[in-house]
C-alpha cells in the first residue's frame, strides 16, 4: 500500500497542475474559449446586481458586455464571477478572471505594486455622507462626535479617519460587512451618519423605508476613480478593454446611441462617426478584433450616457445625477481619446 499511497499523492499533485490559464495572451485565450470571464461585485445596485431572472446588470457589468461585444460581436458572451473585495486582485492575478470590473479605485499602489493595469475610468466617485434629515445637519463639518455606520471597504475607513483627523473632529465608527446591514443599522438609528462612496449612498438611500427622510451631504472627502482592471504585461488585452470603454464615451459624444446606430451607420457622412463604426479608418485591426467592434458595443450595450442613465441615472431607481461623470463638453470630466 506504500505504492498505492505514492500513486495517490502523485495524482493529487498532478491534479493541482491541470487547469492552466494562458498568462501572456489573454485576448487569444478569450477568443479561443469563446467568452470573457469577468469579475464583478457580489451585489451592488446599479453597478452589478442580478435581476429576478438571474441576469447580471449594472454599469460595471456593461463594461464586461462591451468588451465581449468588441471581441465577439456578441455582448452576451460573458461569464461572471462574483468576487468580494478581498478576493478580487488575487482572482485577476491568478488568471481566474480575464478582467475585473468591480468598482475598483485606481490608486498608485494598485497600478504599480499589484501587477495590475487600470484600463480607464467608468465612474468618477468619491466618498460622501448621508444623514437623517431630522438631525438638521447641513455639512460634514458639523459631524463632530457623531456615530458613523461604515460599509467595510478598502479605503472607506481610512478616508473617514483622515477626514475627521484633519478637521480635528471625533467620531465613532460601526463597520458592517455588507450594505444590507449598514443600511439597517443606519435606519435603526445606530448611527447618525452613513458613509460610503457617493454612488452607493444613492443606492443605499433607496433601500431605506423612507428615502426622503435622509439626505446626502455635499462634501466629498475622497477621489474614487473606478474602472476596469486587467493583468499587467498583456498590452493587447489592455487595449481592447480600454478602447471598449472609450468607444462608449466617444459614441455619446457623437450622439450615436443603440437606437440610432443602424440609421447612423447607413446615412452618416461624418468621418468621425464613420471611423467609430468601422466604415473607414483603422477599424479593429490595431485591436485585433473585427472592424465593427464599436458598432457592436453601441448596438448591444449602448453609449456611455445610455448605460449610465439605464443603470444609475434617471432611468434607474438610483437617480444619480451625471455630475463629474458628464462628458467634458457638458461640464463633467468623462473624456475619451479620439478614434482616429
Amino acid at each position: 500500500m506504500k505504492i498505492k499511497n505514492l500513486i495517490a499523492s502523485g495524482a493529487l499533485l498532478a491534479v493541482g497542475t491541470l487547469p492552466v490559464a494562458h498568462a501572456g495572451a489573454t485576448l487569444d485565450a478569450v477568443k479561443s474559449k469563446g467568452f470573457v470571464q469577468c469579475g464583478v461585485s457580489t451585489g451592488l445596485p446599479g453597478f452589478s446586481a442580478t435581476n429576478d431572472k438571474g441576469e447580471w446588470t449594472g454599469l460595471d457589468v456593461d463594461v464586461c458586455r462591451a468588451v465581449a461585444a468588441a471581441v465577439f460581436g456578441d455582448a452576451s458572451k460573458v461569464k461572471y464571477t462574483p468576487l468580494t473585495a478581498k478576493e478580487r486582485f488575487t482572482a485577476l492575478q491568478s488568471g481566474e478572471i480575464d478582467m475585473l470590473s468591480r468598482n475598483t479605485t485606481w490608486t498608485l499602489t494598485r497600478d504599480t505594486n499589484l501587477g495590475l493595469n487600470f484600463a480607464g475610468v467608468n465612474y468618477y466617485d468619491g466618498q460622501g455622507f448621508m444623514v437623517h434629515k431630522s438631525l438638521g445637519v447641513k455639512s460634514a463639518k458639523e459631524l463632530d462626535g457623531a456615530a458613523i455606520c461604515i460599509q467595510a471597504g478598502t479605503t472607506t475607513e481610512l478616508n473617514l479617519a483622515d477626514y475627521f483627523r484633519s478637521n480635528g473632529m471625533k467620531y465613532e465608527a460601526i463597520t458592517y460587512d455588507t450594505s444590507d446591514e449598514t443600511v439597517k443599522g443606519f435606519e435603526a438609528g445606530r448611527c447618525d451618519v452613513l458613509t460610503s462612496d457617493q454612488s452607493q449612498l444613492y443606492a443605499l438611500r433607496i433601500k431605506l423605508k423612507d428615502p426622503k427622510g435622509a439626505m446626502v451631504l455635499p462634501e466629498v472627502i475622497s477621489k474614487e476613480p473606478l474602472g476596469p482592471v486587467v493583468r499587467n504585461g498583456d498590452e493587447d488585452w489592455l487595449k481592447v478593454v480600454r478602447w471598449s470603454l472609450f468607444a462608449m464615451v466617444n459614441a455619446e459624444e457623437m450622439g450615436v446611441t443603440s437606437k440610432n446606430v443602424d440609421e447612423v451607420k447607413k446615412t452618416t457622412k461624418d468621418p468621425g462617426k464613420q471611423r467609430l463604426l468601422g466604415l473607414s479608418g483603422i477599424g479593429g485591426k490595431g485591436l485585433k478584433v473585427g472592424d465593427d467592434w464599436a458598432y457592436s458595443i453601441i448596438k448591444q450595450v449602448g453609449n456611455y450616457g445610455e448605460a449610465f442613465e439605464r443603470n444609475v441615472g434617471m432611468d434607474s431607481p438610483l437617480k444619480i445625477a451625471r455630475g463629474l461623470n458628464a462628458l467634458w463638453s457638458k461640464g463633467g470630466i468623462q473624456y475619451a481619446p479620439p478614434i482616429r
Partner: protein, 394 residues
C-alpha cells in the same frame, strides 16, 4: 509486549517482512510526502507573492493603522499601529467570548433543568427553546437579535435614564470610577476581607467536621466583604470620583459605554450555545441513574442536598468535557462578529487590516493561530481534567 531474549534471539525476518521495519519505512514515506507538500506550497507561495508584488513579513504590524475602532479595552486611536489593532481585536474577541460563556452556561443549565421539570408546560417550553435555537444558523440569529434590539432602544436624546445610567441606541452608559490616591486602602480592605472570609470558611469547615455545628459562612463573608471596604472608604475620606456620562452633541461622552453590538453578539452566542448546553446538562443529569436519587432520599437527604452532593458531582463528569467543547465552539463562533459590526479579531484584523495591507498569508495565519492557541489551551485543560476525574472514578 516486551519479549525478553532467550539464549538465542529468534531469527530476524527478512527486511521486507519485518513489520516494524515496514512500519518505519511507511512512516518515513508519509513524513517525506507531507514535507514535500509543505515545501511545494511554500515555494509556490513565495514565488507568487514575489511575482505579484505582494509584500511579505510582519513589518506591517509596526505601521500606522489609520482607522478607528468602535470599541477598545486598551487605549487606541487611528495613530496606533496594526499590531495594536490585532491586540484590540483579540481582546474584544476574548471579552465577547467570556461574556457569552458565562451567560450560555447560566441559560443552558436553567433550560436543561427546566427540560427535566415535572411541569409539562415548562418542560415543553424548554424543549421548544432547544429545538428552535439549535436548528437555526447562528448567523441568522445574530442578525435577528441585533436588528430586533436596536429599534427598541431610544435615540440618545431620549435616553432611558436610571440614576447616572443611560440606555440608548448607542449603548449603555455607566459612570466610570476615577480612583484617587487613598483608594488603595479600600482595595487593601477588600483584600483583607476576602482573606478573612477564606480563613473563616476553613475554620467553619473544620469546626463542622469536629462538632457538627454549621456556621453561617456565606453571610459572615458577605458582611465582611461589603462592610470592610466601606469602612476603609469612609476612613480614607471617600477617595473616589465618578466620570459621569453626559450628552454632548450627538452622543454621550465620558463614562463607560457598552455598545449594543457587544450586547447582541453576546446574547446571540449565549442563546445559541445555551441550547446545546441545555441538552448536555439534561443528558448529564439523566446519565445519573434514578437509583442514586432514591438512595439519597432513602438516607434522608433533602432534594437540594441530593442534587448538590449526589447528582451534580456525578453529572458534572459527563457534562464538563462536552461543556468545554461548547465553550470552544462559542469562542470560534464569535468570529461571526463582523456581520453586525462588532470589532472582534476577524473584523478589525482579518477584515479591515487585511483589506488595507493585503498581506493575506500573515494576517490569516495570525488569526488562525490565535484561535488555535485558545483551543489548544482549552483542550489541554480538558485532558488534565479528564485525567483527574478518571482517577477518582476508576
Amino acid at each position: 509486549m516486551s519479549h525478553k531474549s532467550n539464549d538465542e534471539a529468534p531469527a530476524a525476518p527478512s527486511f521486507w517482512r519485518d513489520p516494524r521495519k515496514r512500519q518505519w519505512i511507511f512512516q518515513i514515506l508519509v513524513l517525506a510526502l507531507v514535507g514535500l507538500l509543505f515545501a511545494y506550497i511554500f515555494h509556490n507561495t513565495l514565488y507568487n507573492l514575489e511575482k505579484r508584488g505582494i509584500s511579505t513579513g510582519f513589518d506591517f504590524l509596526n505601521h500606522e493603522a489609520g482607522f478607528n475602532i468602535l470599541m477598545s479595552l486598551i487605549p487606541y486611536d487611528e495613530t496606533y499601529t496594526y499590531g495594536r489593532t490585532f491586540l484590540v481585536g483579540l481582546l474584544n474577541t476574548l471579552l465577547v467570548s467570556a461574556i457569552g460563556i458565562v451567560f450560555a452556561t447560566l441559560i443552558g443549565f436553567l433550560v436543561g433543568v427546566a427540560r427535566l421539570s415535572s411541569n409539562w408546560i415548562i418542560s415543553r417550553l424548554a424543549n421548544l427553546y432547544i429545538e428552535v435555537f439549535r436548528n437555526l444558523p447562528l448567523l441568522l440569529q445574530i442578525l435577528f437579535w441585533y436588528f430586533a434590539i436596536l429599534p427598541l432602544l431610544p435615540h440618545p436624546r431620549q435616553s432611558i435614564q436610571i440614576g447616572e445610567l443611560f440606555l440608548n441606541k448607542r449603548g449603555l452608559y455607566l459612570p466610570k470610577p476615577i480612583f484617587e490616591p487613598g483608594f488603595g486602602w479600600v482595595l487593601a480592605a477588600l483584600g483583607l476581607a476576602i482573606v478573612a472570609s477564606i480563613l473563616i470558611a476553613r475554620w467553619a469547615h473544620r469546626r463542622q467536621e469536629a462538632t457538627g455545628q454549621p456556621f453561617p459562612v456565606f453571610w459572615t463573608s458577605l458582611g465582611l466583604i461589603v462592610l470592610l471596604p466601606w469602612l476603609a472608604y469612609g476612613l480614607a475620606g471617600f477617595p473616589l470620583n465618578w466620570d459621569l456620562p453626559e450628552l454632548r452633541g450627538f452622543n454621550f461622552r465620558g463614562g463607560i459605554g457598552v455598545i449594543p453590538e457587544l450586547f447582541a453578539l453576546a446574547l446571540a452566542l449565549s442563546i445559541y450555545t445555551a441550547a446545546y448546553i441545555a441538552e448536555i446538562v439534561r443528558s448529564g443529569i439523566q446519565s445519573v441513574s434514578h437509583g442514586q436519587t432514591e438512595a439519597a432520599y432513602a438516607l434522608g437527604l433533602k432534594p437540594g442536598q441530593t442534587l448538590r452532593l449526589v447528582i451534580i458531582p456525578q453529572a458534572m463528569r459527563v457534562i464538563i468535557p462536552q461543556l468545554t467543547s461548547q465553550y470552544l465552539n462559542l469562542t470560534k463562533n464569535s468570529s461571526l462578529a463582523p456581520a453586525i459590526g462588532y470589532p472582534d479579531l476577524v473584523a478589525v484584523f482579518a477584515g479591515t487590516t487585511l483589506n488595507q495591507t493585503g498581506q493575506a498569508v500573515e494576517i490569516i495565519g495570525m488569526t488562525m493561530g490565535v484561535y488555535l492557541v485558545i483551543s489548544l489551551t482549552i483542550s489541554a485543560f480538558m485532558n488534565w481534567y479528564n485525567k483527574r476525574m478518571a482517577l477518582v472514578e476508576r
